[in-house]
Symmetry: C2
Subunit: 427 residues, 2 copies
C-alpha cells in the first residue's frame, strides 16, 4: 500500500478519477445512514423491557425503607437508587444525589448554580469579571455548549492516549484564578475512547487551584460500558485520590443509566464530597420537591444491584462490539498504510475518533452527507465548534444496524480517500 | 356566641383557664398529625395505579407518530403529552413544552435562564443592577424561595378574593423597569383558594410593562382541581387575553399532573407564546437531549385525553372534599362569631387559608406543634417568611385521614382560641 503523500501528481489524478467514479456510484444508491449521535440501538433498548413491568399496580410502590415512591419528598433519591448509581462509579451512596433522567441536565444545573449562586459560598461566577473552563480536545460537544451558553471562555487542552496534557492543565489551574473548571470524560472518553491513566488521575487530585471555586467536572458516562469481557480499562477513583491528596472538594462526579437501560428514561446522579453534596442539595431544594422516585425504584428492582447492571452491560457489548469491529475491519482494509488518517480502537464507550489529514474533516463530512450519510458535524468535538486543524470526526457506530454500519464505514473510508487526494492535489 | 373582644378581663381569664385545661388534655393524647404540605393522600394515589401498567414489555413503546419513547430526542415532549397538558390549561399544544415531572423545576429554570442568559435577548437579570418580583400575598412559599435564592427583591401585593390588587400591580409594573415578574396561582390560589376574576385577568393582559423582559409567572397548578361538580371556578385564559391585548409574550403558563396522578412521578409543562416558547426551547436544548418520554406516554395512554383526566379529578374530589368540609364544620362550630379568625372555603385546590388575630399566627403554630400537630410554618405564605401582621396560616387538609383531619381541626381551633385569649389579655 503506497502512502498518498508519496504519490506524484499523475498517480493522484488517476486515483481521484477512480475514487470519484466509485463515489458517484455510491451516491446513486440513495443511502440514508446516520452515525451522528451516541444513541443505543433498538436491539439494545429491547434488553431492558423488563424495567417497564417491575413496578406495577399489583404491588406497594415503596422503597426498602417504606417511603411511598408515588408521593412528594426524598429530594435526593431513594437509598437503593443512590446505592446503584454509587456502585456504578465506585463511590459511597451517602453523597450520591439522584436527579431525574439526564446527567447532562445535572451538569448544566451544576454550572448554572455556580454561575448564579456561587460554589460553596464563593462569589457567583456571574459576578466575576472572567470565567474560564479547560476543555480537553477532542471532547463532548454538549459539554462545550453548556459553558458557551453561559459565556464562559473555553481553552483547548490536548487530550492524549492517557488523558489531558496535565502539565498544561496544572499551569492554567494553578496560576489563573479565572479558571473555574475542566470538562472530563475520564473513561472511554467521548470521542477518543481513551481512559485516563493512574498518573493523570493522581495529577488531577493533586491540583492546587488558584481559584477556591475551581472544580473538576468528572463525567463518568461510560464507567461500566466495556466492549470486551477482559475487565475493561481501569480508572482510578477520583474521589479517593482527591481525599488522599487533601483535596476532597475538588471534583463533581456525574453518571447515568442512559446507556444501560433507556436513553430517554433512565436515572442519573451527581456525587461529590459531603461539603459539595450539601451545597448541591441546598440549591436543589429550591428547584424541586423531589424527582421521579418510581423510576428510581424500577431501576433498583430491575437490577437488584450492581451485578445485574454489569450483566446488562455485557449484553450491550455483545450487540455493539461487532459494530465497532466492522468499522475497524473496514478502516484497516481500506485506509491502513495510506497515511491519510488515524483512528482510535477503544475498549469501551460509544465512539470512534477519526483524525483526517489537516483541513479535510469538513470536506469529508460534507461528502458523506451528499451521499446520504450523516456524521457528527466537523468541529463539533471542539469548543465553539472550531477544530483548529479541521481534522477530527466523531463516529458513532451503535445506533445503525450492523449492515448499515458496514455500508457507512465503506462510504466514510471512500470519502476520506477522495478528500485526501483532493487535498494533496491542491498543495 | 360572644365575640372575645367584647369580653372583660375576668371573662377572658376564666376562658383561658378552661381552654388551657382542654389543651393540656389534648397534649396528653400524644397526637401525631401533619397538615403542613399539599400532598395527596394514599387513597388518592391509589386512583392512578393503572398508570404503572399501561406501558409494559408486551408492547412497542412508541408515540402515536412512531417516535421510540425509550431513546434520546423529542426534547419538548411527545405530541400526545403536549396535547394532554395543553388541554388541561386550555391552550394549543404547539407551544406546550413537557419537561420532566415537576412544574416547580420548570419555574426555577425559567427564572434561572432569565437570570443567567436573559429573556428573549434582553440583558440577563444577573447583569442588571436590581431585579424585583411582585408577590401576591399570602402566596406559595416555594415560589418565594426561588426568587429569594437569586437575590431578587420581593414586593408584597395584597391578594383579594378576586385576585391581586391590580392598581398596585399596574403601578409597579408600568413605572419600575426593575420589576421583572409576578408570581401568580390564578385558580384556587395557594393558599387562599381564590380564583382571579375576569377583570383581573384582563388587567394582567393589558399591562404595559416598563421592562421589556417583564413576565407573568402564571402557575396554573389547580386548573382542573375542583372540589365540587358544579363546574368549578372559571378562570379566563390568560394567553388568549394577552393576545387580544397585543401582549402575546407577557405570560409563561405552568402546569403539572402532580396532583392528578403521582406527586413524585407525574409530567409537567410550560406554555407560552411562539416567541417565548422558542426562547425556552433554545435554552432547554443546552440543558437536555430530552425528558422521560416513557412517562409521558404512560400519562397519554392512561387518560386517553382530557376527559379521562377530568374524570380522575372528580374521583380525587370525592376523597378530599369531606376533608375540607370537616375543617369548615369544625371552624364554623368552634370559631364562628368569636371574631378571632377568618378562613377561606375554596371550591378547589389544596388549601384553606386562616387569618388569626394580628400577632397570633406564630403562637398558634407553636401551640399546635407542642400538641403534636405540624402545620405550614407561620410566615411561610409571605416573602422572606415574614408575615407583617403575623396572622396567616396555611392549612393543608388532603394528606391525613378524615378522622385525623377532624382531630386536627379541633386542635387547631382550640389553639386559635387559646392564643387569641392570651393575646387579648396582653392588650
Amino acid at each position: 500500500m503506497k502512502a498518498y503523500k508519496d504519490m506524484d501528481k499523475n498517480e493522484l489524478l488517476a486515483l481521484k478519477e477512480e475514487l470519484s467514479g466509485a463515489y458517484e456510484a455510491v451516491k446513486r444508491k440513495g443511502l440514508s445512514l446516520n452515525m451522528a449521535r451516541g444513541k443505543p440501538s433498538d436491539e439494545q433498548l429491547d434488553l431492558s423491557m423488563g424495567l417497564l413491568d417491575v413496578v406495577n399496580s399489583g404491588m406497594k410502590v415503596v422503597a426498602a425503607d417504606g417511603i411511598d415512591c408515588r408521593n412528594y419528598g426524598e429530594m435526593d433519591g431513594i437509598y437503593e437508587a443512590k446505592k446503584l448509581l454509587a456502585d456504578m462509579v465506585g463511590l459511597p451512596p451517602e453523597n450520591m444525589i439522584v436527579c431525574g433522567s439526564s446527567s447532562l441536565s445535572i451538569m448544566y444545573d451544576t454550572v448554572s448554580h455556580a454561575y448564579a449562586l456561587g460554589v460553596n459560598g464563593n462569589t457567583p461566577w456571574c459576578k466575576q469579571e472572567k470565567v474560564k473552563f479547560l476543555c480537553p480536545v477532542p471532547g463532548y460537544d454538549r459539554h462545550f455548549a453548556i459553558t458557551e451558553s453561559f459565556g464562559i471562555e473555553m481553552i483547548n487542552i490536548p487530550l492524549y492516549q492517557d488523558g489531558p496534557d496535565m502539565k498544561l492543565v496544572k499551569e492554567y489551574v494553578e496560576t489563573d484564578p479565572a479558571v473555574k473548571g475542566i470538562w472530563c470524560v475520564p473513561k472511554y472518553s467521548n470521542p477518543t475512547g481513551c481512559t485516563y491513566s493512574d498518573e493523570v488521575v493522581r495529577a488531577f487530585a493533586a491540583l492546587k487551584p488558584a481559584a477556591p471555586d475551581f472544580r473538576i467536572f468528572w463525567d463518568n458516562a461510560y464507567a461500566i460500558h466495556d466492549l470486551y469481557d477482559n475487565g475493561g480499562d481501569q480508572l482510578l477513583n477520583i474521589m479517593d485520590e482527591c481525599k488522599k491528596a487533601g483535596n476532597e472538594n475538588l471534583a463533581f462526579v456525574f453518571c447515568s443509566t442512559s446507556k444501560v437501560t433507556f436513553a430517554g428514561g433512565g436515572i442519573a446522579g451527581i456525587a461529590s464530597s459531603p461539603e459539595n453534596a450539601e451545597w448541591f442539595r441546598k440549591t436543589l431544594a429550591i428547584r424541586t420537591i423531589g424527582y421521579d422516585k418510581i423510576n428510581q425504584l424500577r431501576h433498583a428492582l430491575h437490577f437488584g444491584g450492581i451485578e445485574g447492571m454489569k450483566k446488562r452491560m455485557a449484553e450491550h457489548a455483545a450487540i455493539i462490539r461487532p459494530k465497532f469491529e466492522a468499522v475497524y475491519e473496514c478502516f484497516d482494509r481500506e485506509l491502513a498504510g495510506l497515511e491519510i488518517g488515524t483512528w482510535t480502537k477503544p475498549n469501551g464507550g460509544y465512539f470512534i475518533s477519526f483524525d483526517a489529514l489537516e483541513g479535510c474533516a469538513k470536506n469529508i463530512v460534507a461528502k458523506c452527507k451528499e451521499a446520504g450519510m450523516v456524521t457528527t458535524g466537523a468541529g463539533a468535538t471542539f469548543p465553539y465548534k472550531k477544530d483548529p486543524k479541521d481534522q477530527n470526526i466523531r463516529i458513532a457506530p451503535t445506533f445503525p444496524s450492523l449492515q448499515d454500519i458496514k455500508t457507512a464505514a465503506e462510504l466514510f473510508a471512500l470519502c476520506v480517500k477522495l478528500c485526501s487526494v483532493e487535498k494533496l492535489l491542491e498543495e
